[in-house]
Symmetry: C2
Subunit: 248 residues, 2 copies
């Protein structure tokens, strides 16, 4: 509803929480300085739309804190989430005028935005940004292809288990813990958002979550807080190989 806050606070890149993982990860001091000049922060409240598919987009950005989603919508309203954006993930495509997907904040969100024109110039002049962006894009492509397997071939139960495993693992990673044995985390998505991500209806999501709970694979505390008593047990439910395709 309201315009997003625009924070022009001169946040120091050196102290940035995503400094070592974002598109700027490889930058040298001088490159960071250039970035500092073209960057600005925006923040959005949970539920706000960051940008609509088809809209003109004259910035690219990194997620600093919070979670955003990328979704595609068909004319008749069917929706498919095609990306989940976490801190350090990149939004937008250099060389493209308009947004290809709806971007929505699912939690409160802070993004570090770069004006597109100067960002593109920087990419063509210094290699480090483009190098890192290539690496990140290749990772996203792998993730998209893993999701294609899930969407095309997994059962509803396997889909839910896979999503929970991914969130648990990522959460553990952020907390620098190992996703092993007993794990605890909060779901950042509603049942409907989970459904949009998994290519299911929200009723089926709800039923399968209940089934995993009934079978002791997970324990629910409230709707969103999830306890996984045995991570290996959860992994067995995903349908993936035991080593979980852990490419490094």
């Amino acid at each position: 509803m309201t315009a997003p806050d625009i924070l022009n606070v001169g946040h120091d890149c050196g102290a940035c929480p995503i400094r070592h993982r974002a598109v700027c990860a490889r930058c040298e001091a001088d490159e960071l300085q250039t970035l500092e000049q073209i960057k600005y922060y925006r923040s959005y409240q949970a539920g706000q739309t960051v940008i609509w598919s088809g809209d003109r987009m004259d910035f690219v950005a990194s997620v600093v804190t919070g979670i955003a989603t990328l979704t595609q919508t068909m004319e008749d309203g069917r929706r498919q989430m095609v990306g989940l954006l976490l801190p350090s993930d990149f939004v937008g495509r250099p060389g493209r005028q308009t947004a290809a997907y709806d971007v929505t904040a699912t939690t409160d969100l802070v993004m570090c935005c770069f004006r597109k024109k100067p960002f593109e110039e920087m990419m063509s002049k210094t290699p480090h940004v483009a190098q890192r962006l290539l690496e990140m894009t290749l990772d996203e492509l792998d993730a998209a292809r893993e999701w294609m397997l899930l969407l095309g071939r997994k059962t509803a139960r396997e889909k839910i288990a896979s999503l929970l495993a991914i969130i648990a693992r990522r959460d553990a990673h952020l907390k620098l813990k190992n996703a092993k044995g007993s794990t605890v985390f909060d779901l950042p998505l509603t049942r409907e958002e989970m459904a949009d991500y998994l290519g299911l209806t929200l009723e089926t999501v709800s039923r399968q979550v209940s089934a995993l709970k009934r079978d002791g694979v997970i324990v629910l505390e409230g709707k969103r807080h999830i306890v996984v008593p045995n991570f290996d047990r959860l992994m067995e439910e995903t349908g993936d190989d035991s080593d979980g395709g852990m490419l490094v």
Copy 2:
């Protein structure tokens, strides 16, 4: 069964059919010369496996002629195709040791391979290869996300129509014709391969192809040769917006 032919013929890059679209598209004369030194050709027969997921892979490559597929297989045999590789498409990931997917030749195939080590060195030294690869990877990511919508939300009939539309459009593109009005092309995939790509069974593919034929959307001449009397009619069946998300 037999080892692929390895053609060490000194093919001239200047005369290469994919020169302007492949990963080398942006290279200057001197860069091409470097590439010439590390490249070699391999050819495979239709049906041959190029590489198995998990295998060590010490080259990257461009498809020169023919079609290859990227597939993922679950332990119990469920398969999902995650990419269709056409002439100029890139195979392999710089910085990765092992293949992440099975790569299979669906037609006779010729690939232009680069030894990985020198290719990576070249990427870090000169910008043009990396720039082009980033562009291509971003395109593939978009394609993967479009496919996620198809896999997650489209009906079997829409899936078939979408696949046919994509093949028709690409085929027209190769022949420098416009995919408009009446269109004719050959299916490069078996029903089973189509099923693997679309997240369906081969029986469902067969039934829906028959249904589209019965409804006059397509005309079959043999199993593989397809006539589309009215391309707009086919597009209506895909479920996409009328303008077909034609990002340029």
